[in-house]
């Protein structure tokens, strides 16, 4: 009796250690995540605000392009002034300029207002004018191409392989290859896109079409794998029930298998699109890294995407771009969070029906 209680105590203790280890890992993960997010928010939040000056007496304090917009009462200040006024960085200003800024401050002719340009402007060489609009539009066009190509092809492939294809050596080989492709580094797909779409098909280089097709290649195997997993999870008894009632295989597929598999399929598709949205490396390879100051108007016009724009900004030395980089990351994270929220919504929606 005493030995068994001793061993029981030991087992309980082991469980407690294990729980503690698990709890500590969660705590550590939250700490890291919170640290990263906090840092980005701390650095990026000021990007949503800009410094403006209402006096034309000191044109050298204003943005070089904005200083001629004489019709506006408030003019955007240069990024050096912006950095000093918002954060106190003075190393790129002369003592005289600092004096002038302080004077404007006492006269109430300098202010910080919401930076609408950050959302409505495209990329610029000047940090105070640069915005994410071009990148957002480019990302939208690119992702649209990715969705249009990868979704029907991926789902169709999975449906055929899972429901109709004969189970033989060839299909087995194809399945194994698709599984492997899902794990191939994304940059390899960039090389494939470069050769296939630009060198071979001769499509225009930094366009949303090429970017979207390349990301579509990347997403395809992931969508196939996710869709097949969703189809496999449909209970066999459900198919038998329908077949036993005299439903044709196509009716079984559309009436029972697809509705049951849809939440899983949509989850896979949206998550792979989210991955495509945040992808940078393959787009650098196919030349979407260029500086593009206007938003794309169609699928063939030169375009950049949000993550590539973040990458470009992160290489700029100006303090203003450091701020913009973090600000744009915040927007990208927001879009990704919305996509993931969509996944949760779809899952809930369909689980209610069960």
């Amino acid at each position: 009796m005493s030995t068994s209680t001793a061993s029981l105590k030991k087992r309980r203790l082991k469980e407690q250690y294990f729980r503690l280890a698990g709890f500590l890992s969660v705590l550590l993960a939250i700490l890291f995540l919170g640290g990263v997010l906090g840092d980005i928010i701390y650095k990026g939040a000021p990007a949503f605000f800009r410094t403006e000056i209402s006096s034309k007496l000191y044109p050298h304090l204003l943005n070089a392009h904005a200083r001629y917009t004489i019709d506006k009462p408030w003019v955007i200040a240069s990024d050096d002034v912006d950095m000093y006024y918002k954060k106190g960085y003075s190393n790129r200003l002369t003592p005289l300029q600092i004096q002038e800024i302080n004077m404007l401050k006492t006269m109430g002719q300098i202010r910080v207002s919401f930076n609408t340009g950050f959302f409505t402007h495209s990329d610029s060489r000047e940090a105070e004018l640069a915005g994410i609009w071009g990148g957002l539009v480019g990302s939208f066009f690119t992702l649209l191409v990715t969705f249009i190509t990868a979704f029907p092809l991926g789902v169709g492939t999975a449906l055929y392989l899972e429901e109709f294809a004969p189970k033989n050596q060839i299909t087995h080989w194809i399945e194994a290859n698709i599984n492997n492709l899902a794990a191939v580094p994304s940059i390899v797909f960039g090389l494939l896109g470069l050769v296939l779409f630009i060198h071979f098909l001769g499509l225009p280089r930094p366009s949303a079409l090429v970017g979207g097709l390349t990301l579509g290649l990347m997403s395809l195997p992931v969508i196939v794998v996710a869709t097949r997993a969703a189809l496999l999870s449909v209970p066999h008894t459900l198919k038998e029930a329908a077949l036993g009632l005299g439903a044709t295989p196509l009716q079984v597929l559309f009436h029972h298998v697809l509705p049951a598999a849809l939440p899983g399929m949509m989850t896979g598709v949206i998550l792979s699109l989210a991955r495509a949205l945040g992808e940078t490396a393959p787009l650098l390879i196919i030349g979407m890294v260029a500086f593009i100051a206007t938003p794309p108007s169609h699928f063939l016009s030169p375009a950049t995407v949000l993550p590539v724009q973040i990458f470009n900004w992160s290489r700029s030395p100006e303090m203003g771009f450091v701020e913009n980089t973090s600000g744009a990351i915040l927007i990208l994270l927001l879009v990704l969070a919305l996509l993931n929220g969509g996944v949760v919504f779809i899952r809930r929606r369909f689980e209610v029906l069960k």
Binding site: T237, E240, A241, A242, L243, G244, L245, G246, A247, H255
Partner: protein, 254 residues
């Protein structure tokens, strides 16, 4: 067999790849009676049942020799449409498998895909009649549009029976329909089987010998892929002709 044979199986052999599961089985299934298929696990009784509505077709590598005649017509010749066959020969499975839809939609599904009704009130009638025949109507008539998955196991199985009879089949195959049910639900399903015999020809696979004795008029005993013995249920249980049958029904093995 006094009654006319609804299904006449002649020299049926079944192969899963190289493995033979049934050996030269010949059996006549009489109309409007319940035929029980008994035997130890893996004896081929479920495989035999699935030959009768060609549910084995969906398993790859299946190969069949011999004939299965339904009303004197071979169901394995190419001119037979499997879809039509399965509306004539319905099936109830071991585990209750309602669709994840409402109770009403479960029963209405068969009539819907086969367009067995003219208008909504026709369909309502079919659903009500099927649920009444499966003795479920009184329990669920107020919640027809609730998810079928919320019903108890026994209710789900009776719903599956209602779903099967909604397309008005001639034969109903039941593959151990009570093995996942508690004794009370089992008793209800057995009672139901006895009533259904008036309208349908039933074939039931069961592990439960008492159940076979209670519900069936004819019993067939399978052993390692062979049909050992078949005959009138009372006679088979009281005076088995074969030693193996005797061993099984007296509980010596199986």
């Amino acid at each position: 067999m006094r009654a006319t044979a609804k299904i006449d199986v002649k020299h049926l052999s079944l192969f899963y790849g190289d493995k033979q599961a049934l050996f030269d089985v010949s059996l006549k299934i009489p109309s409007f009676q319940t035929t029980a298929l008994i035997g130890p696990s893996g004896c081929g009784k479920s495989s035999f049942l699935r030959c009768l509505n060609r549910m084995n077709d969906i398993v790859s590598n299946v190969h069949i020799e011999g004939k299965v005649l339904l009303d004197k017509e071979d169901i394995y010749i190419s001119s037979i449409d499997v879809v039509e066959l399965r509306t004539r020969v319905g099936m109830v499975f071991q585990k209750p498998n309602p669709f994840p839809r409402s109770i009403y939609e479960n029963v209405a599904y068969g009539p819907r895909i086969h367009s067995l009704f003219k208008n909504k009130s026709d369909l309502d009638e079919i659903v009500e009649l099927s649920l009444k025949r499966s003795a479920l109507w009184d329990e669920i008539k107020d919640r027809l549009h609730q998810p079928a998955t919320r019903l108890s196991g026994g209710q789900q199985q009776r719903l599956c029976i209602a779903r099967a009879i909604a397309v008005n089949p001639e034969v109903i195959l039941m593959d151990e329909p009570c093995s996942a049910l508690d004794p009370i639900a089992t008793a209800k399903v057995e009672e139901l089987i006895d009533e259904l015999r008036e309208k349908f020809t039933l074939i039931i696979v069961t592990h439960n010998l008492q159940q076979a004795a209670r519900v069936s008029q004819q019993t067939a005993f399978f052993h390692s892929g062979y049909l050992v013995e078949a005959g009138e249920t009372g006679a088979l249980f009281t005076m088995p002709q074969d030693e193996r049958t005797q061993g099984y029904i007296t509980g010596r093995y199986g």
